[in-house]
Amino acid sequence: MTSSFTASPFVGKTFGVTVTNLTKQFGKTTVLKDVNLEVKPGEIFCIMGPSGSGKSVLLKHIAGLERATRGEVRIGEFDAADPETRNQVHLALVFQAGALFSSLSVYDNLALYPREHRQCNEAGIRDRVMHALSILSLEKAANKFPSDLSGGMKKRVAIARALVMEPQLLLYDEPTSELDPVMSATLTEIIATLREQTAVTSVVVTHDRDLAFNIADRIAFVMDGRIRGVGRPDEFKQPADPVIANFLNPVIDLKNPRFKQLENSHE
């Protein structure tokens, strides 16, 4: 698939992200605790961590879909929580389940953004949509509806939809979850190639070690709502932190299984 990959003529600048003292509470539960991060313009920044650690909530704050209880997120010089920022920054989020519009065909899903923002005429929209579909080898799916697509195709359509937006900041929420290893590798290549050819800043929330260690410029580990460590992938090949080491290289111990330990701790 990537052999047919050609650059989209993206223009304009890309943005970095600064997260300062971000705290988020849902009722009495604190999901994020004083999170500080800096994503540099043009880098692929992976956020890893166990399920329920607050990774996706952090991503939603960057996308401006959640309001912080304390602290702030800035995209370049703009406040991510301010709806006006979306007029200044082309931000695209690839959702975990795709979030494709079920009542629209694949073509119309992709055409929605340029149509709504009146960016070009219908011929221009068609060119942009078909170009994005061809990047992801989805030309034959143009007239299908999301309900007719497999999980992997939905993710590719979601990425194609993000490409049509010509993003200056690209966010991915678990792009390789629920995919087979080959499709995971393909999507990993797509994310890397996109950054290579468009220099777009990419923030990737993932559990996938292969993805993070192959393409990330830096990785942040979120554990229990806090940043446990940030660094280049090679710094985490042999992590000094036992919690991160255990997360990256869990040992399967059938004689003393973890779920038994959990049961005992609850008794």
């Binding site: 939603k60 996308a63 401006g64 879909l65 979306r86 007029n87 931000l91 695209a92 989020l93 959702f95 389940a97 979030a99 494709l100 519009f101 079920s102 929605l112 953004y113 709504e116 923002h117 009146r118 937006m165």
Partner: protein, 252 residues
């Protein structure tokens, strides 16, 4: 106290949604296709049930009033009673109840499902306000279709009453006498008042159903809960507002 706060917050949220949606009114001409689609869904697909129900409501009204009015020799005024009742009250209220159950529930289910499956979040990140794309065309469509449906309901109710009066042995008021009585005491103002009520109810239904749909949180189970909440809230508001709007119209 928390309950009261929640009610005030929902009323505020619903009004805010209306204001935010109407802010995008200048974009309506380029959303003509969406507007027409909603007109079709709200108006055309509701037409059979509105026709059947209002026909039988008019019929039953004539049957019941004929039975009562015969006792004090006033059955020649059945046309007046059915005409005024349909135009001022039952036409707009029945159409509103039908729209709440048929269209309002579908709107809430669609928007709640879009919310739960993150389609609304996707629109937000694409800088496409849901109020503009999802709420405004529906508000515009209901503004056009409610008076049309109310007029059709009135006509069907009147003709239902006329048929019953003519062919029910115990009533035996012919159509000519029925429609003469109907026209005698009916003023254009009576029909206009009914259409104003229909318009108010339509706006309330769409606004409430969109608000509840767009504010759904949780999983698929909450979609069903939101639909129930939207329909029940709409029905309560229709009947409560009916009293106040009627009073205001009678006083004006």
């Amino acid at each position: 106290m928390n309950y009261l706060t929640a009610i005030i917050s929902h009323i505020g949220g619903t009004l805010l949604l209306l204001v935010r949606s109407l802010k995008y009114l200048p974009t309506l001409p380029r959303q003509f296709a969406r507007f027409m689609e909603q007109c079709y869904l709200i108006g055309y697909t509701s037409l059979p049930i509105v026709t059947i129900l209002s026909f039988f409501i008019g019929s039953v009204l004539a049957l019941q009033s004929g039975y009562s009015m015969e006792n004090f020799g006033a059955k020649q005024f059945i046309g007046t009673l059915v005409g005024l009742t349909m135009a001022r009250e039952l036409g707009p209220v029945m159409v509103a109840i039908l729209i709440a159950g048929r269209v309002g529930s579908a709107i809430t289910a669609e928007l709640a499902s879009m919310k739960v499956y993150q389609e609304i979040d996707a629109l937000t990140t694409m800088n496409i306000p849901p109020e503009r794309m999802l709420v405004l065309p529906r508000l515009a469509a209901i503004a056009v279709m409610m008076p049309v449906l109310a007029v059709i309901a009135n006509l069907c109710g009147w003709y239902g009453g006329a048929l019953v009066c003519q062919y029910t042995h115990s009533i035996s008021v012919d159509s000519e006498a029925y429609f003469t009585a109907l026209k005698l005491y009916m003023k254009p103002r009576d029909i206009v008042d009914g259409l104003i009520k229909a318009e108010v109810f339509g706006f309330v239904i769409i606004n409430v159903c969109c608000y509840i749909g767009l504010n759904t949180r949780g999983g698929p189970r909450e979609i069903g809960a939101s639909v129930t909440k939207a329909v029940v809230t709409s029905l309560i508001l229709i009947l409560v507002l009916d009293y106040f709007v009627t009073k205001a119209l009678l006083m004006s």
